[in-house]
């Protein structure tokens, strides 16, 4: 069968996206990412004044590992994501049911297909933007190309490791904890007893400055061995292993009695709890954006040392915490509600409440960061700033993408509209936070247009025909 399955899966993924919002809009998405990377790269000379090149390269490697981890977390949900994305459609991913092809082969092809897609949609455009930018700034193009190569290796390591961890998790959570503990101990031993620096453990970064065949071999081992082991020990849920669950919808719903949408909220939490990865998925999906936030914070602190770090962190946390909404909508299409007396706006309203409840995670993070930075005196303006921008970006997400942010943000027009409405606010909030944190006490004013947009969103999505694949 060779690469036939892979080729068909790639064709299918292309048709799936292009049928949803047109070939041009989907094809423009990587171009937009490339342009974004290009514009961001133009600021590199300024960042170079506050960070050494080595620090920049190291940070970029961390980001790409986290990016791989974030993308690879689909391994945590595995078949559930396939189910969610493909619904009841008879796609190639389900061929093992009717054709003589094993689920392992199908999953391998699915994995390769997703890697190819993410590389084409995200990684290559970012690299392209970075390399083109070197023509306009004083950075050597060859060095940039080499960094890009090692960044791809970091991305693949992140992907491979999380795939392996998810396989361990599928077998036993104890096994996963034991492995993580052993890994941590091994790293600590390497650092403390063998004096191997953390930069050497970050092999793709290390190979950039000190290339060696041994390091390249170790990188290949890190990429291929966990992936191969995961495929060998891939665990697939067969129906005979189905579990019985205690009836808990109504009990949980009672806890959310303060809302008229209590049973929808209860359902959201049961979806998160019972799907693979549990509530951990939310924390997982947070790693990458929070990592990015820390990097921005680091840059800002170096750039303007007088800045109140907690203020900047709150602004970025507000933006990234909107991604919780994506996770809440990931397990719920509108199709199962279409034959019930339910409006799209009702589901959206219930998701907003679920979002506010889960946002307690973000609140805790904000409190911890304020304590660790010893900036509790700025906590109130930071909190108001976080709440406002988080709710504003949530309302924009809902207006532009409704219940389908993970799908519709691949429509370049929708993504551009979102960026255009959120980034000016992000810019204004950042500048205001730097100038005088107390200005942010007035930030809740932005909640008025956010509520207005939400109201318009309800009307918009109630008229809209739900996506069907």
């Amino acid at each position: 069968m060779g690469f036939e399955i892979l080729k068909i899966m790639i064709k299918e993924e292309w048709r799936l996206h292009t049928s949803l919002f047109g070939k041009r809009m989907f094809a423009l998405f990587p171009i937009m990412i490339g342009i974004g990377a290009f514009i961001a790269s133009l600021f590199l000379p300024y960042i170079k004044t506050i960070m050494t090149t080595q620090q920049m390269v190291q940070s970029a490697h961390y980001i790409f590992i986290l990016f791989g981890v974030s993308i690879g977390s689909f391994g945590l949900a595995g078949k559930e994501i396939m189910n969610r994305r493909f619904g009841q459609a008879s796609l190639v991913a389900y061929s093992s049911r009717s054709l003589p092809v094993s689920e392992r082969t199908i999953f391998l092809n699915f994995l390769i297909k997703d890697i190819i897609y993410y590389v084409i949609l995200w990684i290559l455009p970012i690299i392209f933007g970075l390399v083109i930018a070197t023509l306009f700034i004083k950075i050597n193009t060859i060095s940039m190309l080499l960094v890009c190569g090692t960044l791809i290796l970091s991305f693949l390591i992140g992907l491979s490791i999380v795939f392996f961890l998810s396989t361990l998790y599928a077998h036993s959570i104890k096994l996963l904890i034991a492995f993580l503990t052993m890994g941590l101990v091994a790293i600590l031993i390497l650092i403390n007893f063998y004096s191997i620096g953390i930069t050497n453990i970050l092999l793709p970064y290390s190979i950039y400055y000190n290339p060696s065949v041994t390091k390249l071999l170790l990188i290949m081992i890190l990429i291929f061995v966990p992936s191969i082991l995961s495929l060998i020990f891939l665990k697939i849920d067969y129906p005979e292993k189905k579990r019985q669950y205690k009836n808990s919808l109504m009990d949980l719903s009672f806890k959310f009695k303060f809302s008229q949408h209590s049973y929808y909220i209860a359902k959201d939490f049961l979806d998160l709890k019972r799907s693979e990865g549990g509530l951990g998925k939310i924390i997982f999906s947070f790693l990458f954006p929070i990592g990015l936030t820390w990097l921005f914070l680091y840059i800002f602190l170096e750039l303007i040392p007088t800045v109140k770090a907690i203020m900047i962190f709150a602004v970025f946390l507000g933006i990234v915490s909107a991604s919780i909404y994506n996770m809440l909508t990931a397990f719920d299409t509108f199709n199962p509600y279409m034959f019930l007396p339910v409006k799209v706006s009702t589901i959206i309203k219930s998701k907003i409440i679920s979002y506010l409840i889960v946002s307690i995670f973000s609140f805790i993070i904000l409190v911890l960061v304020a304590i660790s930075l010893n900036q509790l005196e700025w906590f109130i303006p930071a909190l108001l700033s976080f709440i406002t921008i988080s709710f504003y970006s949530l309302s924009m997400t809902i207006y532009f993408a409704g219940l389908h942010p993970t799908i519709l943000f691949y429509n370049s027009k929708i993504f551009a509209q979102y960026i255009c409405t959120v980034s000016p606010i992000l810019f204004v909030f950042t500048i205001a936070s730097i100038l005088n944190p107390y200005i942010m006490l007035a930030s809740p004013v932005l909640l008025i247009p956010a509520l207005f947009v939400l109201k318009k969103s309800y009307k918009k999505w109630d008229k809209w025909k739900p996506l069907s694949i």
Binding site: N83, R243, F339
Partner: protein, 237 residues
């Protein structure tokens, strides 16, 4: 008294006309079977009548409620068993019925759902997640959710698909009893034997056009077999 009134209903998907200018009315207490080959427009018709799909042209009234004006009110009053949709993955069968019951604001959900678990013989599956249920059990669950609130009209798309012969018999008997109580059923199928056995009225649709509407008794009186009649009509187009 007509409980379903359809006037010049049309649905176009680009150049394809899925339902073509259909006018039809169905009286209270009828078990109406919409028969047609695959892709003839049966599912599109049900989706338009229940406000899941907006017609390109024409109107439809269910229990005197205009579907275009108030689809939610229509879906509050009727029960729907869709052809393909499945219940949400991570609720148990029992929880799903409780969920639907909460949406429909029913007060004695537990008792009502127990009745359906018993009647369709899947009590042992009520604590399993919907995603783990067999297709047949999911279909039973979809039947239960549609009738949980004891609606006056039920729209059913391919009702007996995936069900074993014992449950098929149970459901057929239930539907016959249901219309005796003055309720109405609108169902689509391409299985002619089922239509011949339980329908009081039939409509034959092909390529979106309603080719025939009449009672089963009429056909029986003419000593005409539904299968022969159907094949002749569809072939003549």
């Amino acid at each position: 008294m007509s409980v379903i009134k359809i006037n010049n209903l049309t649905k176009e998907f680009g150049e394809l006309t899925a339902v073509d200018n259909v006018t039809l009315s169905i009286e209270k207490g009828q078990l109406f079977g919409l028969l047609g080959p695959n892709g003839s427009g049966k599912t599109t018709m049900i989706k338009m009548l229940t406000g899941q799909l907006k017609p390109t042209n024409g109107t439809a009234k269910i229990l005197d409620i205009d579907v275009l004006d108030d689809p939610i009110k229509v879906r509050t009053k009727v029960g729907i068993i869709p052809e393909q949709e499945t219940p949400p993955s991570f609720l148990t069968a029992q929880e799903y019925l409780e969920f639907v019951g909460s949406i429909r604001k029913l007060s004695n959900i537990k008792k009502l759902s127990e009745k359906w678990f018993k009647m369709l013989d899947f009590e042992d599956q009520k604590n399993a997640l919907c995603k783990d249920l067999s297709r047949g059990t999911r279909q039973k669950l979809m039947v239960a959710q549609a009738f949980l609130h004891e609606p006056q009209i039920a729209f059913i798309d391919e009702p007996l698909i995936n069900l074993d012969p014992i449950i098929q018999r149970t459901l057929k008997d239930f539907l016959l009893d249901y219309i005796k109580k003055g309720n109405t059923v609108f169902f689509s199928t391409h299985v002619l034997e089922i239509a011949e056995e339980i329908c009081t009225q039939i409509g034959i649709i092909d390529k979106g056009k309603l080719l025939h509407k009449g009672s089963i008794t009429e056909l029986k009186n003419k000593r005409q077999h539904l299968e022969d009649f159907f094949l002749k009509l569809v072939k003549e187009g």
